[in-house]
Each structure stands twice: as C-alpha cells, then as structure tokens.
C-alpha cells in the first residue's frame, strides 16, 4: 500500500538517486567521493549539477551509467531509472540501457572518439547496438542524426575521420552518438568545457532543442554555475561529495542560501562579458576526501560559520521548494 502511494507520487521521476555513496580505492587510501547524494529527475527536466573540480560530479554521472573505473564502486544507496534499480541489473541488461534509454555526452570530444573510425560509423554504431538494423540502415540514420545536430553536408562528413573535424563539430558528433536512439535521459558531463565561448552557446542550443523536441530529460554537469543558470530549470550544488543546496535556477541565482553557493556564483564570470573585475575566487581548498567528515565540509572556508558547524554535519533539509544543508542559512536557523 505504502509502496503504491510512493510509486504514484514518483510516477514522473525518470531518475531517482537515493542516498548514494561511492568510494574510490586509490593509492592514498579509500576516498569517499560521493557521500549520501539524493536527487530526482522528472520527465523533461533540465537539471544542472554544479560544483568545484573534484567534488564528485563525474563520479556521480559514471555511477548512473554503471561505468565507474575499476576501484570505484557504490557503497550504499540506490539509483532507480524508470522504477528499476540500476545497481541490481546484470551487465547485459545495463548495456541495453546505455546509449538507448540513457545517453551520455562526455567532456573532451577529442578523446571521446575513436580516431580510426569514420564519424558516420561511430554514430551508426549506437543505433546498430540497440536496434538490430543493418549497417546500411544505420549508416543512413547516422547521416540523419548528424544533420539534426547541424553538421553541414552530413553525407560527406559521415565518411570523414575525427581528426578532420573542428572541436565544436566533434562535440556535435559526440552528442549525436550519445543521443542517436532518443534516450529518455541524457547525462552531459561538461559538454562544453573544451570549447570556446561561441561554440559553447551553439552546443547548449543543440541540447536545448533536443530537450524540447524529444522530451529527453537532461542532467547537465558543469563547474560553471553561470552556464548552468542559462540552461537548466533546476540546480543541484555539490560540495565535497555532498549536495549542499538544491532548487530552481531562478531561486538559487537570485537568492543563494548556502554560503558555498554564494561563493560559487561570485567566483564564476558571467557568460558573455568576460569581466574579471567582480570575481571573487573561493579561498582555500576542498577537504581531503579520504577522511571522515566531522562537521560541515565547508567550515574551513566559510565566513558565516558558527561553533556547531565544526561539530556536526548539517543535513540537507527542505526550505519551501528548495533544500539547503547549512546550520546558519538553512531551515535550522
């Protein structure tokens, strides 16, 4: 009975991550890279995940794809995709979802492509892997896909190798590869970081179009909160493996609650004007992920901290439509 209520309440959730923790075994010992992260993605959502380098964004994305590197593994929590627990699926079942129901776009288009295979074949491969179509059909579908990501002369370009494309064009190919089967969920991990500003805008436009045309939900990962604010309806702010604030983009931008979110907004240049003037870099460094965190992970860098901050870790609690994890600015105050 309770299950049914829960189920109906979540019925538009495409992705539900619950209390997910991920450890990585490294030379410096076990790193607790993701620490009890929960968030939901509904149909058609564009949700941004932001945070400084090393806060665990890519690890989270790869965990959803079940593509974590050897040594990295979920140690708690669950990942539900359309009601199925991804962590419980067999490798074969998981493979059927990847590239088909869940597509991923990676950061570095130069490293993401096989240099020895034509662009068209690489796009067609995603279709072949899932649709059981002949090579001829997948080849023409690949050309269509390349046209839809606005690659000029797609029929000619399909026969060319990655090194014959510019960075922006390569990223379009990577997007075409990740989305060729119109997945319900697209995870884009810093899809524009390697590109220059004008090309960035084009790639964002493309993802926007995909979201409106096919209704695919998008999880957009970036360390650039300004970029996220342009593109996403909701934002999840991560710090040292935890979510510290979550809410609608407009709320968070107009009134950030968490001191880290405020600092992040001040530290990132606005998209168009590259004015370095108003920028305030965040002082200090994120904590060591190998240690068990006592108190708020941001305490060492926070100007609003109180005594309690170093004693116990603030939970993420709802404040109206948003969630904040802070003893001072959160719902506890």
């Amino acid at each position: 009975m309770l299950n049914q209520i829960r189920h109906s309440a979540d019925h538009d959730a495409i992705l539900s991550v619950e209390n997910l923790s991920i450890d990585i075994e490294s030379k410096r010992g076990v790193l607790h890279v993701v620490r009890g992260v929960s968030f939901h993605v509904n149909a058609g959502d564009r949700i941004g995940v932001v945070g400084e380098s090393g806060c665990g964004k890519s690890t989270l994305a790869l965990a959803i794809m079940r593509l974590l590197a050897p040594g990295a593994a979920p140690v708690g929590g669950s990942i539900q995709f359309l009601g199925t627990d991804l962590l419980a699926l067999s490798e074969t079942e998981m493979r059927r979802l990847r590239g088909n129901e869940i597509g991923m776009v990676f950061q570095d288009p130069a490293a993401s492509l096989n240099p020895m295979m034509t662009a068209g074949r690489q796009v067609g491969e995603t279709i072949e892997a899932h649709k059981g179509v002949s090579r001829k059909i997948s080849a023409s579908a690949a050309v269509d896909m390349m046209r839809s990501v606005k690659i000029p002369e797609p029929a000619v370009r399909a026969g060319q190798y990655p090194h014959q494309f510019s960075g922006g064009m390569r990223q379009r190919i990577v997007i075409a590869m990740g989305t060729a089967n119109t997945p319900k969920l697209i995870i884009a991990d810093e899809p524009t970081t390697a590109l220059d500003v004008t090309v960035q805008a084009q790639v964002i436009e493309l993802l926007e179009k995909m979201n409106t045309d096919t209704g695919s939900s998008i999880v957009f990962i970036s360390h650039n909160i300004a970029l996220v604010s342009e593109f996403c309806s909701r934002v999840v702010v991560m710090y040292a493996g935890r979510i510290v604030e979550e809410g609608s983009t407009s709320d968070i931008f107009s009134r950030p609650y968490h001191p880290y979110t405020s600092a992040l907004i001040k530290s990132v240049p606005p998209l168009d004007e590259r004015l370095a003037d108003g920028l305030v870099p965040i002082e200090g460094r994120p904590p060591n992920l190998a240690s068990k965190q006592v108190g708020c992970a941001f305490a060492a860098r926070c100007s609003s901290k109180i005594e309690k901050c170093t004693q116990s870790s603030p939970p993420l609690v709802a404040m109206g439509p948003r969630k904040v994890a802070c003893w001072v600015t959160g719902a506890h105050s």
Partner: protein
C-alpha cells in the same frame, strides 16, 4: 600515400649501399681462402694465381667491390666458386623453400601471437592470462635451434608424428615452422596484450561502453584495430628475425633453402655465394621493415592523411 611509399623506397638506396659494403667487407675480412678449398693439394703456385685472376681475387678490395656492385645492380651475383653455377640461379633454386618456411612461420607468429595477446588481455589478471604470459616468457627465451632439436626429439623421434628432416610434404614443415615462429608468437602476443590493455584504458572506450556497444565488439573492432598498429611495425621488424631463425632451423632440419645454402657457402669460403645470400637476406630485412611501416601508415587515418 603513394608518394609516401615512393619516399620510403628511395630511402632504401643509401641503406642498400651501406649494407652491400658491409657484406662485401665482412666476407673479405674473415680468414681463409676459397682457392684453398678449390685446389688440390700440391697444385702449382702458377695455377693458383691463374685461378685467383679468374675470380678477380688478385685485384684490390676496392676494385673488387666496384666490379661486384656493378654486376649486382644487373642482378648478376657472379658464379659460385665451388659449385660452378651462377649465384643467382642457386639463390632462385633455394628461395622458394625458404619463402615457404619463412612465410608460414611469419603467418603462424602473427595469427597465433595476436590470438594469444587478445586472450591474455581479455582475461588480464586471471589464470588464463598468467599461463599465456608464462608461455610467452618461455617461448621468447628458447633459441630456435635448441627448440628445433627439442621438437625433433619429442615429435619426430619419440612420437614419430612427423619426419625428422627433409622437405617432403606439409608434415615436414610443421616442426620447422614452430621452431622458427614460436619466438615471434611470444613477441607478437606480448605487444598485442600490452597495447590492448593500454588502449582499453583510453577515454573513447568508456564512451563506447556508454553507447551500449558489446564488449566483444569493443575489443575486436575498436581496441584490437588500434593495438594492431604497433604489432604490425613489430612484425615488419620481425621478418628479418624470422629469416635469421629460418637459417639455423633449415640447417637443423636439413631442409634446402637460403640458410642451408649460406652455411654451406660459408664453410667452403665461397665468397660470391656468401655475398649473394647475405645481400638477399639483408634486403629482405629492409623490405620487411618498409612493408611494416607502410602497412602501419595505411591503417591509421591520421598518418594516411599526413603522408599523402
């Protein structure tokens, strides 16, 4: 691409002269006189001089080289002092047998080596990998003549499955091919394994997984194709090594071929024949390297472009 091939071939010319000079000098620096093995005991010094003049052995080294080179360029390697037949004819007669052995051993090295490497990489860190790896270690440390003797002892003498020696039929080829090619199998397997593992760690492989491409397809269509690039250049270098192995193996198995011809010629100080054989073998090594280079460039679209 064709200009790349042309350039590589032109680069052979200086190499060829260096090699030919080395071959020529080497032969003249080893002690021993071919006339000795030709003359009967007690022949007169006059007859001796006459013979030396006939074969040009009375001229200066430099003159001998120029004369020899001039002829070599028209594919005239001179006449065998001992056997009295043209060197070119002797080589032509023995070449097919060596090519069969070398070619089969090369094929065996490539196919078995690549297969073993792919398996070891797939089962990296498991018992299958460690048994292949120790097999590789063993294979690469045993010299081919010793392996040849061992194989003869086990399969020809004890088990009687194949003939001990000779060159009749395919069964007589089995042991020589294994003896010649096993070292190559080991090398190719090792290079294949290492490069497959290394390429398997690259980012584009993660993206292939994210596309839902099956593991076997990722391994064979993507990773192996990359891994073959270094393997092919190694194989090109290996052609010479296999020819070297074939020489000793031919002798051990008493097979006709360039190797047997060369060893006999060496024992008899048959200068022209030794020179002809060595020159042939060196050219084969150089050609092998070039073929490896060209094949490698042809495989990689970036190099194909760059070498247009």
């Amino acid at each position: 691409m064709s200009s790349f091939i042309l350039r590589r071939l032109l680069a052979v010319i200086p190499t060829f002269f260096v090699v030919s000079l080395t071959v020529f000098l080497l032969i003249h620096l080893v002690p021993g006189d071919p006339i000795d093995s030709l003359m009967r005991a007690g022949s007169s010094p006059a007859l001796r001089e006459q013979m030396a003049a006939k074969y040009g052995l009375d001229r200066s080294l430099f003159e001998q080289y120029i004369i020899w080179m001039g002829k070599v360029l028209t594919l005239d390697f001179g006449t065998s002092i001992i056997q009295g037949r043209p060197v070119a004819a002797l080589i032509a007669q023995n070449l097919p047998s060596s090519l069969t052995l070398g070619g089969t051993a090369f094929l065996f090295s490539s196919l078995a080596g690549i297969a073993a490497g792919v398996l070891a990489a797939k089962y990296y860190g498991t018992r299958i990998d460690s048994s292949i790896t120790s097999g590789i270690l063993l294979g690469s440390t045993i010299p081919s003549f010793w392996l040849a003797l061992l194989l003869i002892l086990v399969f020809a003498v004890w088990l009687g499955w194949v003939p001990v020696s000779g060159a009749r039929g395919w069964s007589s080829l089995v042991l020589p091919v294994i003896a010649t090619g096993l070292g190559g199998v080991a090398l190719v397997a090792r290079v294949t394994k290492v490069s497959m593992i290394e390429i398997g760690r690259q980012d584009f492989v993660t993206l292939l997984r994210a596309k839902g491409v099956s593991e076997s397809r990722i391994r064979l269509q993507h990773i192996l194709r990359h891994a073959l690039v270094p393997v092919i250049s190694i194989l090109g270098l290996r052609i010479g090594w296999i020819l070297g192995g074939a020489i000793t193996v031919e002798v051990v198995f008493a097979r006709p071929g360039l190797g047997s011809l060369l060893i006999r010629a060496l024992n008899q100080r048959d200068y022209p024949l030794v020179q002809g054989c060595l020159l042939m073998l060196s050219m084969a090594v150089i050609l092998g390297t070039i073929i490896g280079d060209i094949a490698q460039a042809a495989m990689d679209p970036r190099q194909r472009e760059a070498s247009k």
